[in-house]
């Protein structure tokens, strides 16, 4: 028994992990990390760190309670020809260890070169303590301007991302992307990476566009309408809307959510890609002087037609640019290894067909 007690206390002593633990005030909890190209092919890095006031303002749980006079966060910048040089320069400006285990978001400038982007993403996967589930975003805005912005909705900029992406049903298009998946797409043979684009606004930020990468550099920024259309095909759009003209009046169909299936086949050596979208939605805004019941079928047909033509334009544009955010290219390469260039060629000239079946489930309680 005495032996057991000794061994147990020994285990308690050495297995707690306290040996490597450091108190909170020796750590600078980085909430947002951002990367941009600097002059002379250098990499600039910025760390956004909450101040003690900023941290305590969060404990109340309500937003906007941080007293307005206090700064809730500060930003440290570093620059260097390699990432570790830039990290070192940033570290030298704070008297606490930069701790990446609480990271909320990693922002990449779209102006980063392919080599820089690749170097950063591979470095991120090697930092053991870095939280791989942090959100990844891209931006076109300059680094300093971007990092100094505090959104109106939350006192702490870092928290904006958790509230923006934490709620999967709140976004029109579910654009959340995690840091770990960047490396996954960079390794994929055919599938291109996309990241949500965050844009600056007078009140704060705004996320409704996506930027598609060609291998490792930002290639195309989609408009918010295109993002929603591609979102249907990727199964990401959860609050789509279509406005139709009906008897000379405007009818709006909303809460459109698509369930996509992509099939492909070779016909005479040409690739035909067929997308089947099963869409559900609800009718909002219907002219009060009309009875809805007899019009539902017509509305469904018109919504389907509208969606399929919109999506067709969007996907064709992508495939003509040889951009492939879908998994079909990967699937082909997985089943037929070594035929990637043949697939790429076929994909760029593929004919698309989109079949949409809309079911309007909620019609409201007025007929």
């Amino acid at each position: 028994m005495g032996m057991q007690a000794i061994v147990m206390f020994l285990m308690l002593g050495i297995l707690t992990g306290c040996a490597s633990n450091r108190p909170l005030n020796e750590r600078a909890l980085v909430l947002v990390m951002a990367f941009a190209p600097g002059p002379h092919k250098q990499i600039s890095v910025a760390f956004q760190i909450p101040t003690p006031q900023g941290l305590t303002s969060l404990t109340s749980g309500s937003t906007g309670s941080g007293s307005p006079g206090h700064k809730t966060s500060y930003t440290v910048f570093g620059r260097g020809s390699t990432l570790s040089q830039a990290f070192g320069q940033a570290q030298s400006q704070v008297n606490q260890g930069l701790y990446l285990g609480q990271l909320q978001a990693v922002i990449f400038s779209t102006r980063l070169s392919g080599a820089q982007f690749q170097a950063i993403s591979s470095a991120l996967t090697r930092i053991g303590q870095l939280d791989k589930t942090a959100f990844a975003l891209a931006t076109t805005a300059p680094l300093r301007q971007f990092m100094r912005k505090t959104p109106d909705s939350t006192p702490l900029p870092g928290l904006y991302y958790t509230t923006e992406f934490g709620c999967s049903q709140c976004q029109t298009v579910q654009l959340r992307r995690r840091v770990w998946s960047i490396e996954k797409y960079l390794n994929a043979p055919a599938q291109n990476l996309w990241l949500p684009l965050i844009t600056l606004e007078p009140q704060g930020f705004h996320v409704d566009q996506m930027v598609i990468y060609r291998h490792n550099h930002a290639a195309k920024i989609l408009s918010s309408q295109q993002t929603a259309d591609i979102g249907y095909v990727l199964g990401l759009t959860s609050k789509g809307a279509v406005n139709l003209h009906w008897d000379g009046q405007t009818v709006s169909v909303r809460s459109l959510k698509a369930n996509p299936k992509i099939r492909w086949q070779w016909i005479d050596g040409l690739l035909h890609i067929h997308v089947y979208l099963r869409v559900t939605g609800s009718v909002e805004e219907f002219p009060a002087d009309l009875e809805l019941g007899p019009h539902v079928r017509g509305l469904q047909q018109q919504t389907s037609a509208q969606l399929s033509s919109d999506c067709l334009t969007a996907v064709t544009k992508l495939s003509r640019n040889d951009l492939d955010p879908f998994t079909i290219g990967n699937a082909y390469e997985w089943q037929h290894p070594g035929t990637l260039s043949q697939w790429r060629d076929a994909y760029a000239h593929a004919t698309w067909a989109i079949t949409v079946t809309v079911r309007l489930q909620q019609l409201g309680d007025a007929t």
């Binding site: 285990m11 050495i14 297995l15 589930t133 490396e183 996954k184 997985w334």
Partner: protein
């Protein structure tokens, strides 16, 4: 030897063989298989699974040669002095390599994900001390501890793997390929057969089951292999569809990387996946304990000492040796290289010796049958 109840139940017996899987297999699997077999990964895995059944069948035959005696004890009856010693030493070496690799593998994992600033020797010593502690009261205690931890850990693992479903975007990768490339698939299968290594203890633990329960233990052994195979299939499915196959090849510990993604916001432990990795680590300590037990029970008949004090003494010496050797690895890459070199001979040994053993035993029985009408020792 000091005796309490020296028997283990059939379920404990089956679990002891399967816990071994967690030791070195689970963390790295299925990287090597995917690298070689590509889209034929399922066929490669099926080959492994089948090979595990064949191995278990062979080893159970060995166990039945003399069901009341340990492997080395039985070997003494049928082998002459020199081959007996060679066999004993080979068996010891095999059982010594496995815990060294397991402890090195898991301590690097702990240092990478959990304790980045803790010196690795401390992790090594703590883990090995824990395994010695589990072996301290001999087999029944070891078997019970293993059983108590193993079943809940497996249940929680399966539940947690379902939390990965939202991340499984690359479903195409899980569809079995119809275009079979035999050679690369079999190479991959052979190189990842180590996931089932552990069933080599089948004849060693056999005499600890009550004679009337031995048929049941045999059935449980096959059932345990089936359960482990299903579990591995779940791991293949989850890792292939979450991380696509190409990224998976770059990951040191694909299953751990996938489990790291689980993030249940609102729960006290939001990184639930990492919790399960810790639990896997505890199970892999049992792997090491079981090896310690096996080695000491190979050494004890060799030196003809069978007391509990000798047993504990040997275990402590083994622990010191294992820690010393595993600290020689500078990084996980070195562990990988050595594992790749040493595992194939071990696999060949585990499959070859039962065949030789059974042939020798059969010949001997034949000869005895002819020389005297009543066989003395069967």
């Amino acid at each position: 030897m000091h005796e309490t109840t020296r028997h283990i139940s059939p379920l404990q017996y089956a679990i002891i063989e399967t816990t071994s899987f967690m030791g070195i297999g689970i963390f790295e699997f299925p990287r090597v298989l995917v690298m070689h077999a590509g889209s034929d990964v399922w066929w490669g895995f099926l080959a492994d699974w089948l090979a595990a059944y064949v191995g278990a069948w062979l080893l159970l035959k060995v166990a039945y040669v003399n069901p009341r005696e340990t492997l080395l004890g039985a070997a003494r009856d049928i082998l002459s002095s020199t081959p007996y010693w060679i066999f004993g030493i080979a068996d010891t070496v095999v059982h010594l390599i496995l815990p060294v690799l397991a402890i090195a593998q898991f301590s690097f994992l702990v240092v990478t994900f959990f304790l980045p600033n803790t010196p690795i020797w401390l992790v090594d010593i703590a883990l090995t001390a824990m395994s010695v502690y589990v072996t301290w009261w001999d087999l029944p205690a070891l078997a019970r501890t293993t059983q108590v931890i193993y079943l809940p850990v497996m249940a929680i693992s399966v539940v947690l793997l379902t939390l990965l479903v939202p991340y499984m975007t690359d479903s195409y990768a899980a569809i079995p390929s119809l275009d079979l490339h035999v050679l690369p698939t079999l190479t991959g299968a052979f190189k990842s057969l180590y996931i089932f290594i552990g069933f080599e203890v089948i004849p060693i633990f056999w005499p600890y089951i009550r004679p009337d329960e031995q048929p049941r233990a045999r059935r449980y052994t096959y059932l345990a292999l089936t359960a482990a195979g299903v579990f591995y299939s779940a791991i293949i499915f989850a890792t292939l569809t979450t991380e696509n196959p190409w990224y998976l090849e770059h990951l040191q510990w694909p299953a751990v990387s996938a489990l790291r993604l689980i993030n249940v916001s609102g729960l006290i432990i939001n990184k639930l996946g990492l919790l399960i990795v810790v639990l896997w680590g505890i199970v892999s300590l049992f792997f090491i304990s079981i090896r310690f037990w096996a080695i000491s029970h190979v050494i004890m008949p060799l030196i003809r000492r069978r007391t509990l004090t000798w047993y504990r003494g040997i275990n402590v010496c083994l622990a010191v040796l294992v820690v010393g050797v595993s600290l020689r690895f500078p990084n996980i890459r070195a562990v990988d290289t050595i594992t790749k070199k040493l595992i194939p001979p071990i696999i060949v040994f585990v499959y070859a010796y039962p065949v030789v053993y059974l042939i020798v035993a059969r010949l001997l029985q034949h000869r005895r049958h002819h020389s005297s009408p009543s066989p003395a020792n069967s």
